[in-house]
């Protein structure tokens, strides 16, 4: 449904790798913040239900505070001493550092949610199919089995419930039944696998190196996104190197230097982090227009 989903798996991989790298390697709270904002807007634009989004945000705030507090007990640098614990300083700066780290972690976690929404197993099979054709078969067969196994397990367990031997008489007895069910499903699946192996052989599996029919076209938009990503990444990398947008937490949090190079770096970050959200919004507008034109 989303625009982002339609990119080539390699493009997606490269984009997210860059997003991850930047979010994780910078210590600059501004960049970390932008990453978090980008992830949240991307999720919001992507149509994440409000309730789920609020839950993420709530959980995010709690985690940020928690990591902030945790860091106080680990780092003891900084000049503003709040109090002493076990002959160690508990400092405000350490708390700030923790908050900033929390923002980064929550940001990355949100990006992960976005990635999980925007990729599926088909991406994996398509990418691997070219390089490791046999491994990709193992994956597709696995994907074929997963729903079968879940179905068999549920059917078997509900049959035992119906027969009345699952009435809760202690956790261990229930766990025993569950594991017996799991085992019988395992046995059936393994046996089934041997039959499947013979059909695979009969259908020519393993005769020659496999071709791969599941693929995605590389489109101009993929090249475009890759170029943009590469440029932004280069700008940000150079910016980090020059230290024009450097930030230090200790002894007190402040920008070390705010040089000329900070501006392109901020622009590059904003562009990169807001790109997915922008793409989705753009796609939504077109979608809307296309329907209006029909009506």
């Amino acid at each position: 449904m989303h625009r982002f989903r339609n990119y080539h798996p390699i493009t997606k991989l490269a984009f997210f790798a860059v997003i991850f790298a930047i979010s994780m390697f910078t210590e600059n709270p501004a960049v970390r913040g932008m990453s978090l904002v980008g992830a949240v807007t991307a999720l919001a634009a992507g149509g994440t239900p409000l309730k789920r989004l609020l839950k993420y945000i709530g959980g995010g705030i709690v985690s940020v505070l928690l990591i902030g507090v945790m860091n106080c007990f680990i780092a003891h640098d900084g000049k503003t001493i709040l109090f002493d614990l076990l002959r160690r300083h508990i400092t405000l700066e350490a708390f700030y550092y923790g908050l900033s780290a929390g923002v980064m972690i929550v940001g990355v976690a949100m990006w992960c949610v976005f990635i999980t929404d925007e990729t599926d197993t088909e991406d994996l099979v398509m990418t691997l199919g070219k390089v490791l054709p046999f491994v990709s078969v193992v994956i597709t067969v696995t994907l074929r089995y997963i729903p079968e196994i879940i179905k068999k397990f549920r059917e078997t367990l509900s049959a035992q419930k119906m027969l009345g031997i699952f009435e809760s008489k202690g956790y261990f007895k229930r766990a025993l039944i569950i594991s017996k069910v799991f085992m019988s499903v395992t046995e059936r699946s393994v046996e089934n696998a041997m039959d499947m192996a013979s059909t695979m052989k009969a259908r020519g599996y393993g005769l020659v190196r496999r071709a791969s029919a599941r693929h995605k076209k590389w489109r101009e938009s993929d090249t475009d996104l890759l170029l943009v990503t590469a440029f932004c990444a280069a700008f940000i990398a150079v910016g980090e190197k020059t230290g024009d947008f450097g930030f230090a937490y200790y002894p007190s949090p402040a920008f070390v230097k705010f040089g000329l190079y900070a501006i392109p770096m901020i622009v590059a970050c904003a562009l990169l982090f807001l790109l997915p959200a922008g793409q989705v919004i753009d796609w939504r507008i077109r979608w809307q227009k296309s329907f209006e034109s029909k009506a």
């Binding site: 390697f25 680990i74 992960c112 949610v113 193992v138 067969v141 079968e148 397990f153 699946s189 499947m196």
Partner: protein, 240 residues
């Protein structure tokens, strides 16, 4: 001749299984954060890729491919089915079984792909590659100890018990660096303490599943060996 080859393999695998985690820990201690992350991701990625390449050579054997798929599917399905009980999952058990019965490389694949595929349900992230790598290692080690694990349930359970903490400890190195920016033993301790309930749960559930499934699994593998004539392929399966 075959004997010596096996010995060589065991040495090679042991080297991989011991040196790589050791390297990661060492890097975590001595490298600054900015260098640690790419190096650790790089190592994990190269290791996973190397094993995939090894496996690719053997996966043209249909029986081997499907069995690897079934074990992976069982552990992913298990992770989905037991979603209600955090940490209590048959993933380790299935990976260890796969290693013990199908060989180290297959074990590695089963572990690695269990992580990769189940994360499509539970959320992909930076941790995926480390999870793949660590679960893979567990499968690999199980493969090395295959002949013993197949025979002695007690040793099987012991390996399962220690696999839980081993997984947690390796993953915690990475989370420490990620969360606290640099590695220090005190921050590592905090992370490990936070993950302790999970670590205990892993160890307990591993022992539980291994203990209960060991005998039926042995029976099942024997059954298909007899019924489908895997017997004469057994050595090939092991070797690859």
């Amino acid at each position: 001749m075959a004997e010596r080859n096996t010995l060589k393999r065991i040495i090679a695998y042991l080297a991989v299984a011991l040196i790589i985690p050791a390297m990661i820990v060492t890097f975590a201690v001595y490298l600054p954060k900015k260098a640690f992350m790419p190096v650790a991701v790089g190592i994990a990625f190269v290791a996973v890729a190397a094993f995939m390449l090894c496996f690719e050579r053997g996966a043209d054997n249909a029986a081997k491919a499907v069995l690897a798929a079934v074990f992976t599917a069982l552990s992913v399905a298990g992770r989905v089915l037991f979603a209600a009980t955090p940490g209590f999952k048959p993933v380790f058990a299935m990976t260890i079984f796969a290693g013990a019965y199908l060989g180290g490389e297959t074990g590695f694949m089963v572990g690695a792909f269990s992580a990769l595929l189940s994360n499509f349900f539970f959320g992909q992230g930076g941790w995926t590659i480390f999870q793949m790598f660590t679960w893979g290692l567990i499968g690999l080690v199980a493969g090395l100890l295959g002949p013993i694990l197949r025979k002695h349930t007690a040793i099987l359970c012991t390996v399962g018990f220690f696999a839980g903490p081993m997984f947690s400890l390796v993953i915690d190195v990475w989370s420490t660096v990620w969360i606290f920016g640099k590695f220090s033993w005190s921050s590592y301790l905090v992370t490990a303490m936070n993950a302790l309930p999970f670590t205990i749960m892993y160890a307990v559930s591993n022992v539980f599943f291994l203990l209960i499934l060991a005998r039926p699994m042995r029976r099942t593998m024997n059954r298909i060996t007899v019924k489908y004539g895997l017997l004469h392929q057994k050595r090939r399966l092991d070797r690859r």
